[in-house]
C-alpha cells in the first residue's frame, strides 16, 4: 500500500471506530430515566 492510502484508511477507519465507540459508551453510561419510560424490560425493577 502507498503511504497516502494507508494514512487515509487508518485515519478514516480510526475516526469511525472512535466516534462509534464514543456514542455507544455514552448510551451505556446515560442515567436511567424514571418510570414510565419507553422500555418495558426495566418495568419490573422499578416497582
Amino acid at each position: 500500500m502507498t503511504t497516502s492510502a494507508l494514512i487515509t484508511m487508518v485515519l478514516v477507519q480510526g475516526t469511525v471506530i472512535f466516534v462509534t465507540a464514543y456514542f455507544f459508551r455514552k448510551v451505556l453510561k446515560a442515567p436511567i430515566r424514571q418510570e414510565p419510560d419507553s422500555y418495558s424490560e426495566n418495568d419490573e425493577l422499578e416497582r
Binding site: T8, I17, S38, Y39
Partner: protein
C-alpha cells in the same frame, strides 16, 4: 383509531434494531463498489460531508418526527406528517413512507432468500472445487425461474420460507420479535464481518497474477484521487450512498422512533445507531469484498466486474481458494452476515405497514402481519418470475431510489419550514442525553433541503454519464436546439423512455420494456391503494372526533 400495546424492551435493543434497519446488503456490496468507481480514497470525503450535512440532519429529523407522532398515537408517516401541519395534502406525501417499504421489501426479501440458500449451500460444501464460471452459472440457473418452471423451484420455495419467517417475527411485535432478532443478529453480523475482514486483509500476495494481492485492493480503495472531487458524479454517488445506507426517506425510522416516549432521548440514540451503521460500512464493508477479489482475481478483473452480483457469482469461488475449511467457514460467515443484514432491514420495512393498519383500522398484530405477507407475496411475484427482464431493477429504481429522495425532500421541508424550526429544534433536543450542536439548526433548515433538492434535480435531468463534461455537452446540445442528452438512468428518461421510445412488442414477442411497464403499473396501483386507505382512515378519524 385503536390503542396498540407495543413498546421496546430496552434502549440497547432499540439502538440495535435501528442500526439493523440501516445495516443492509449495501454496506458490504454497494459501498465498496461505489468507492472503487468514484475516486477510491477520495470518495470518503464527499461521503462524510454528505453524512454530516444530510445524513445526520435527516436522522435527527426522522427520529424527532417519529417520537412527535407517537405522542399522538401515530406510528406511520401519513398521520405523523398530518399531525405536524393543518394542510391535509401532507398525509398523502406520507404514503411514500409505507409504499417505499412495501416495494423494497418485495425484492429485498427475495435477495434475503438467496443469502439463506447460499448459507446452506456453503455449509454443505457445494462450492468446493467449483470453477468461477460454474459458480456464476449456478446462480444464473438458480434465479432463472421463468425457463425452469418445471424443475424444483428452490428459489421460489426459499423466498416463501424467508417471507414466512419475516411475517412470523413481525407478528411477535417490537420487543418480542424485531428486538430479539436484532440482539442476536447484530453481534453475529459484526463478528462474521470482523472474521472476514481479518482473512481478507491478511490474504496478501496469492501469486495468481501480477497484482493478485489483497493489499493492492485496499490500496485501490483508499488511495486518494483528489481530481475526482471536482466531478459532480462522485458527489451524487456519495450522497446517494448516504441515503441507501442510513435507510432515511423510507419511513422506518419514524415508525421505530414513534414508540419512544416524549421525555426519552432520541438525539444520542440516533447518533449511536447511525455511527454503528457507519462502522459496519466503512470499517467492515470496505475490508471484505474488494481485497479478497483483488487478491485472487487481480485489479483489472475487479475494475471490470465489481458489482452487486459478485456476492453470489464470485465470492463462493473466492472463499474456496482459501482451502476447504476456511472456504466453508468464510462462505457461511459471508452469506450468514448478508442474511442477518437483510432480515434486520426487511423486518424494519414491515413495521410502517403494521403500525398503520393496527392503529388506523384496529387490526390485530397477527392479521396485519398475514395481510402484509400476502401483499409482499403478490408484489414480489413479478420480480421473481421476470427477474431477467429488468423488473427487479425497476422496483429498485422507483421504490429503492427515487421514492427515498422525494420523501426525504418533502419531510425536511415540512419539518424546517412548515412545522417550523423552533418547534422542530425543541423536538430534537427534548430529553437529549447529548448536546446537539446548534450549527445543525440552520443546517436542517437551509443546507439539508438544498442538498437533497440538488440531488433530486440532478437525478431528474442527469445527462449522459453524469460527468462534469457531460453537463456541458448536454447544455450545448440544448442551446443548439438538439434537445437535452438524457442519461439512461435519469428520472425523466426512465419515466418516458425518451432514449429508446416505447416498444412493447418486437417480432411478435413482448419486450423487456413491456414487463417493466407492467411492473410499474403494479407499483402505481399499490401507491393509489395506499392513498385510498389513508383517505378512509382519515375519514374514520374525523367521524370519531
Amino acid at each position: 383509531m385503536s390503542e396498540v400495546k407495543e413498546s421496546w424492551g430496552s434502549r440497547i435493543g432499540l439502538i440495535l434494531a435501528m442500526a439493523g434497519n440501516a445495516v443492509g446488503l449495501g454496506n458490504f456490496l454497494r459501498f465498496p463498489v461505489q468507492a472503487v468507481q468514484n475516486g477510491g480514497g477520495t470518495f470518503i470525503i464527499p461521503y462524510l460531508i454528505s453524512f454530516l450535512l444530510m445524513g445526520i440532519p435527516l436522522l435527527w429529523v426522522e427520529w424527532a418526527m417519529g417520537r412527535y407522532g407517537g405522542k399522538y398515537g401515530d406510528h406511520s408517516t401519513p398521520f405523523i406528517l398530518d399531525n405536524m401541519t393543518k394542510k391535509r395534502m401532507w398525509k398523502y406525501f406520507g404514503v411514500f413512507g409505507i409504499f417505499t417499504n412495501l416495494g423494497v421489501m418485495a425484492y429485498y426479501t427475495y435477495i434475503e432468500s438467496w443469502t439463506l440458500t447460499y448459507t446452506i449451500k456453503s455449509l454443505k460444501g457445494d462450492f468446493i472445487g467449483m470453477p468461477v464460471d460454474q459458480v456464476g452459472s449456478t446462480f444464473d440457473q438458480y434465479v432463472d425461474l421463468a425457463s425452469n418452471i418445471n424443475t424444483p423451484v428452490w428459489a421460489f420455495i426459499a423466498f416463501v420460507f424467508t417471507l414466512a419467517l419475516n411475517i412470523y417475527i413481525l407478528s411477535k411485535g417490537l420487543s418480542g420479535g424485531i428486538e430479539k432478532v436484532a440482539k442476536i443478529a447484530m453481534p453475529l453480523l459484526i463478528g462474521f464481518g470482523a472474521f472476514l475482514a481479518v482473512i481478507a486483509i491478511t490474504l496478501g500476495d496469492t501469486g495468481r497474477c501480477i497484482d493478485c494481492n489483497s493489499l493492492v485492493g485496499l490500496n485501490f480503495l483508499w488511495e486518494p484521487q483528489f481530481d475526482s472531487l471536482a466531478n459532480p458524479k462522485v458527489w451524487l454517488a456519495a450522497a446517494g450512498q448516504i441515503f441507501f445506507t442510513l435507510s432515511v426517506g423510507m419511513g422506518t425510522i419514524h415508525c421505530y422512533a414513534s414508540y419512544v416516549k416524549p421525555k426519552d432521548d432520541i438525539a444520542l440514540n440516533a447518533m449511536s445507531a447511525g455511527w454503528m451503521n457507519g462502522f459496519v460500512e466503512i470499517v467492515l464493508g470496505a475490508s471484505v469484498v474488494i481485497p479478497i477479489a483483488v487478491g485472487y482475481l487481480g485489479l483489472d478483473w475487479v475494475k471490470e466486474n465489481a458489482g452487486f452480483m459478485m456476492a453470489f457469482k464470485t465470492m463462493p469461488f473466492l472463499f474456496d481458494q482459501y482451502g476447504s475449511v476456511i472456504g466453508v467457514l468464510g462462505g457461511v460467515a459471508w452469506f450468514g452476515l448478508l442474511f442477518f443484514a437483510g432480515i434486520t432491514s426487511s423486518l424494519a420495512m414491515g413495521t410502517p405497514w403494521m403500525g398503520f393498519v393496527e392503529h388506523e383500522f384496529g387490526w390485530s398484530r397477527k392479521k396485519s402481519a398475514i395481510i402484509l405477507g400476502v401483499v409482499i407475496f403478490v408484489l414480489a411475484l413479478p420480480t421473481i418470475f421476470f427477474f431477467g427482464k429488468g423488473v427487479f431493477d425497476e422496483f429498485d429504481y422507483w421504490t429503492g431510489t427515487v421514492s427515498l429522495v422525494v420523501f426525504a425532500l418533502a419531510e425536511v421541508v415540512l419539518f424546517g419550514w412548515v412545522f417550523g424550526m423552533d418547534k422542530g429544534w425543541k423536538e430534537i433536543t427534548s430529553g437529549a442525553d447529548m448536546k446537539v450542536p446548534a450549527i445543525y439548526r440552520p443546517i436542517i433548515k437551509y443546507v439539508t433541503p438544498l442538498f437533497i433538492l440538488i440531488i433530486f434535480i440532478s437525478s431528474l435531468i442527469k445527462p449522459l454519464n453524469g460527468e462534469l463534461s457531460d453537463w456541458a455537452t448536454a447544455f450545448n446540445s440544448l442551446m443548439a436546439g438538439d434537445g437535452w442528452l438524457w442519461a439512461n438512468d435519469s428520472i425523466i428518461n426512465q419515466m418516458f423512455h425518451l432514449n429508446t421510445g416505447i416498444i412493447w412488442i418486437e417480432d411478435g414477442v413482448f419486450t423487456n420494456m413491456f414487463y417493466i411497464d407492467l411492473s410499474r403499473f403494479l407499483l402505481i396501483l399499490t401507491f393509489v391503494g395506499l392513498m385510498a386507505m389513508v383517505a378512509i382512515a382519515s375519514r374514520r378519524r374525523r367521524m370519531k372526533a
